[in-house]
């Protein structure tokens, strides 16, 4: 169980963030407020008059009971803000993952099966393009093409999936593609190397020797084993997904998690910034743990 010490250090990092602020944190948190009584109240409320370790204990106690502080600007608990924005980002991220899996795994299979062919080079070029394109630029260019020039898709906005699925898809397809693009490149590289590895193994030779159809060898025999490392390595890209979501939501004005942290940064709403980092880090660690467990579950050799 290495999760607990790691979580401890995550909390220390996030807690120390607020002490990077120049000057008196109470003054900074007060913002426009210049009333000494109000500043004193903030100091008391956040235990800023106590020593650092004591402040940390108070902060962690709060975080553990779901109290991540209050947004200075919106006068709302940070946790409820995050819970409100989360479904938007989850929808966006899920669509992005579907796009990334389709393109990435598809291109990975083709390039492994047709190794050193024109298809292989094209897929590798696609991956290099995906890794090197800044997603905020890709977003702007897509808006220019599909919204400004062709007028096919709305440039920004968000409609919940439950409200009107057509309008929802129309607003989400561009941000989801932008977000999925970079992940697709990484998944393609993982799929390619995993498939190349599996295709060399003895049981594939046996399957071919039995006279099975080539597509059955590839999809039924090879892909099933090749996908296992792809899924676990893919889970590591959750961080890339969240980082990308910050920029994508900013460009397409999607009111999700990423927009929340950027707005918080510009309004000096520090409790929200800390809350978002804490929640994303915890989610990342939990997801990795689940991926490790899934890996053991699908791989019989690791059970025992």
């Amino acid at each position: 169980m290495q999760l607990i010490p790691t979580l401890f250090f995550v909390s220390v990092i996030i807690f120390s963030l607020q002490h990077l602020l120049p000057g008196d944190p109470a003054l900074v948190m007060a913002g426009e407020e210049r009333d000494p009584a109000a500043i004193e109240q903030i100091r008391q409320h956040y235990h800023l008059d106590r020593s650092l370790p004591v402040q940390y204990v108070y902060w962690v106690k709060g975080a553990l009971s779901g109290d991540l502080g209050e947004s200075m600007r919106l006068k709302e608990p940070v946790l409820s803000l995050i819970v409100k924005k989360l479904p938007v980002t989850i929808t966006l991220a899920s669509m992005a993952i579907i796009i990334a899996l389709t393109i990435g795994v598809g291109a990975g299979i083709v390039s492994a099966v047709k190794k050193d062919s024109l298809w292989d080079y094209a897929a590798n070029a696609l991956a290099l393009w995906g890794i090197s394109t800044p997603n905020f630029w890709l977003g702007i260019m897509l808006i220019f093409l599909f919204s400004v020039k062709l007028g096919w898709l709305p440039a920004s906005g968000y409609v919940p999936l439950t409200e009107d699925w057509r309008a929802s898809l129309a607003t989400m397809i561009m941000p989801a593609f932008v977000l999925g693009n970079a992940i697709a490149a990484i998944l393609m590289r993982h799929t390619r190397s995993a498939m190349l590895h599996v295709l060399e193994s003895d049981y594939i030779r046996t399957a071919r020797a039995k006279g099975l159809l080539e597509h059955s060898v590839i999809f039924k025999h090879a892909l099933r084993n090749a996908l296992t490392p792809v899924i676990t390595l893919g889970a590591l890209e959750f961080g890339t997904l969240l980082s990308g979501a910050v920029l994508t939501e900013q460009i397409f004005a999607v009111p999700g998690f990423g927009k929340l942290i950027v707005d918080a940064v510009f309004n000096r709403d520090y409790a929200v910034v800390q809350g978002v980092v804490l929640v994303t880090a915890t989610a990342y660690m939990t997801l990795n743990l689940l991926a490790d467990m899934a890996y053991i579950l699908v791989n019989p050799r690791l059970r025992g």
Binding site: F9, L242, V262
Partner: protein, 296 residues
């Protein structure tokens, strides 16, 4: 006499056929045309950044109100922006912020990450466990989100963006160095160095460190690519280079508002980021293949 001459030629031939590792890596790298071409592109960008005042057609901050949002022409090759500044001049000067941010933030990550990883991997035990958990904790925070949070708390500026990117890149180098050290430190030559009584610091610096340099070089190149994108992202969000100083990220931010009337404002800085990042990625991939002792 003749025999001696023959032996001398044989020795000379043998010396020629024994290639130093550096020469072998160079030969392999040159075989990858994409990587060599990418290196040329990087050289062009570096030259443009250094010689910016000499080659730039205009002052990048000069606002010309009679030439606002003009399309690319013979006068302004890349067009002008919303306050009549020459986009080409700003792309050339913007290379400074991007390349500087890429190199300096990776330098910060190397300066902190390599010593920590070296100690962690070499010493092991409690120190290793402690450093590893801190590294895990840093890696658990999504790269850009941590960088945004750091830049927000430190205050928006190019220098702070570099620190933020450097800090978030550090755990990658700690983990890489530690892993490599653990492989190298059980090699026979390290054992031999220990047997003849070398102090630990000397073994770590003279016998272990040089052997992990190739892996660090590859990772540093790929990290520069990631750092350039990160700096552009932070500047795009307004957390990096502050206006009016030119940077590719902040140019894209401004361009977003004028996409209908002045799309060239978005095309050029984005293309510059793409080309630079692509080149560093290509060189990194090329170096990885060239330095891999398993490939011929």
């Amino acid at each position: 006499m003749a025999e001696a001459a023959l032996t001398a030629t044989a020795v000379a031939n043998a010396a020629e056929s024994i290639e130093t590792p550096t020469a072998r890596a160079m030969r392999r790298f040159k075989r990858r045309r994409g990587a060599v071409f990418a290196l040329v592109v990087i050289a062009v960008f570096v030259a443009a950044a250094m010689l910016a005042p000499l080659i730039s057609p205009y002052d990048p901050d000069l606002q010309t109100w009679s030439a606002v949002r003009k399309a690319p022409s013979a006068l302004h090759w890349f067009g002008t922006d919303d306050v009549g500044r020459d986009v080409l001049a700003r792309v050339i000067f913007g290379a400074r912020a991007s390349l500087l941010a890429g190199v300096i933030s990776v330098a910060i990550a190397l300066l902190v990450g390599v010593p920590v990883g070296l100690v962690s991997g070499y010493v092991g035990g409690f120190i290793d466990a402690l450093f590893s958990r801190i590294t895990d904790a840093l890696l658990a925070c999504p790269f850009l989100i941590l960088a945004i949070a750091l830049a927000a708390f430190l205050g928006p500026s190019l220098g702070n963006a570099m620190i933020a990117i450097g800090v978030t890149t550090t755990p990658i180098f700690i983990r890489l160095t530690r892993g490599q050290v653990m492989v190298v430190k059980v090699e026979d030559y390290v054992e031999a160095a220990r047997a003849v009584g070398n102090p630990h610091w000397r073994i770590a610096l003279v016998h272990v460190l040089p052997n992990i340099l190739p892996a660090l070089l590859v990772q540093a190149t790929l990290s520069i690519a990631a750092a350039i994108i990160a700096e552009a992202a932070l500047s795009f969000l307004g957390l990096g280079q502050q206006p009016p100083a030119p940077s590719w990220g902040s140019m894209l931010n401004a361009a977003q508002r004028f996409l209908v009337n002045a799309p060239w404002m978005a095309i050029w800085p984005g293309l510059a980021i793409f080309l630079t990042v692509l080149s560093f990625n290509l060189v990194g991939d090329g170096l990885r293949d060239a330095l891999d002792p398993r490939s011929r």
